[in-house]
């Protein structure tokens, strides 16, 4: 079975803390993505990576950064968490032109 694993299902952080969300895929996919999902706003792309050390901004990159040092791992970083970053974060990966495979999601609450 294909697998995208996100490091934490639920996190609670305080405003100003640095937050790392990690994602690992075991399918040798070139492309990896981070989305956030909010009620009424659907899925919004934060960043994606098309290869190791390569990244591109999505639709809402402000307040986020990413790291892809190895092909299987794509990390989302919130340098200084804010309450408006409380959300469900979804990681996904795919071969170019293929379907997205999603992780289970990480629900982040920033107090």
């Amino acid at each position: 079975d294909v697998k995208v694993t996100q490091s934490s299902r639920y996190l609670v952080k305080r405003t100003g803390e640095k937050v790392f969300l990690e994602c690992v895929q075991d399918m040798d996919h070139e492309n990896m993505f981070w989305y956030r999902q909010d009620p009424g706003l659907g899925l919004r792309l934060i960043y994606f990576s098309y290869d190791v050390k390569m990244k591109e901004k999505g639709d809402i990159p402000e307040g986020y950064s990413v790291s892809r040092e190895k092909k299987e791992r794509f990390s989302l970083i919130l340098e200084s968490a804010s309450t408006n970053q409380t959300s469900m974060y979804l990681c996904a990966s795919r071969f170019l032109g293929g379907e997205l495979f999603f992780g289970e999601g990480s629900r982040l609450t920033v107090l």
Binding site: N31, F33, G42, L43, L45, F48, Y50, E56, G58, M88, L90, A92, L96, G97, G98, E99, L100, F101, F102, G103, E104, G105, R107
Partner: protein, 116 residues
């Protein structure tokens, strides 16, 4: 402009009823891919089907069927004899092969409630 439109925000049916979820898309690419995903209450998005723009054949998989019509830019999803386990949010998505080839455009989702 919305690339993928799912006009039905929420649908409620009684078990065993058939239900169709609508999806209309917009693209200028001649090569593109369409997808349906299911998001049950647990939260994980589950891939259901992928269709490329050159294949207009309808697809059936058990109780699920998909109707792809390029003439109306629609990719509708029908569940036959719905079951309570079908309750979820369903997303339609578009990926363009040439323009913005790394982007997925998701519709806003249709929440399906299947009542016993």
């Amino acid at each position: 402009a919305q690339k993928v439109t799912q006009a039905q925000t929420e649908i409620s049916v009684v078990e065993k009823e058939d239900v169709t979820l609508d999806c209309v898309y917009e693209t200028r690419d001649t090569t593109y891919y369409l997808f349906w995903y299911k998001q049950p209450p647990s939260g994980e998005l589950v891939f259901l089907i992928r269709r490329n723009s050159f294949d207009e054949q309808n697809e059936i998989s058990g109780r699920y069927s998909w109707n792809f019509q390029k003439s109306t830019s629609s990719f509708n999803f029908t569940i036959t004899a719905s079951q309570v386990v079908d309750s979820a949010v369903y997303f339609c998505a578009l990926s363009e092969a040439i323009t913005h080839f790394n982007k997925f455009y998701f519709g806003s989702g249709t929440k399906l409630n299947v009542k016993p």
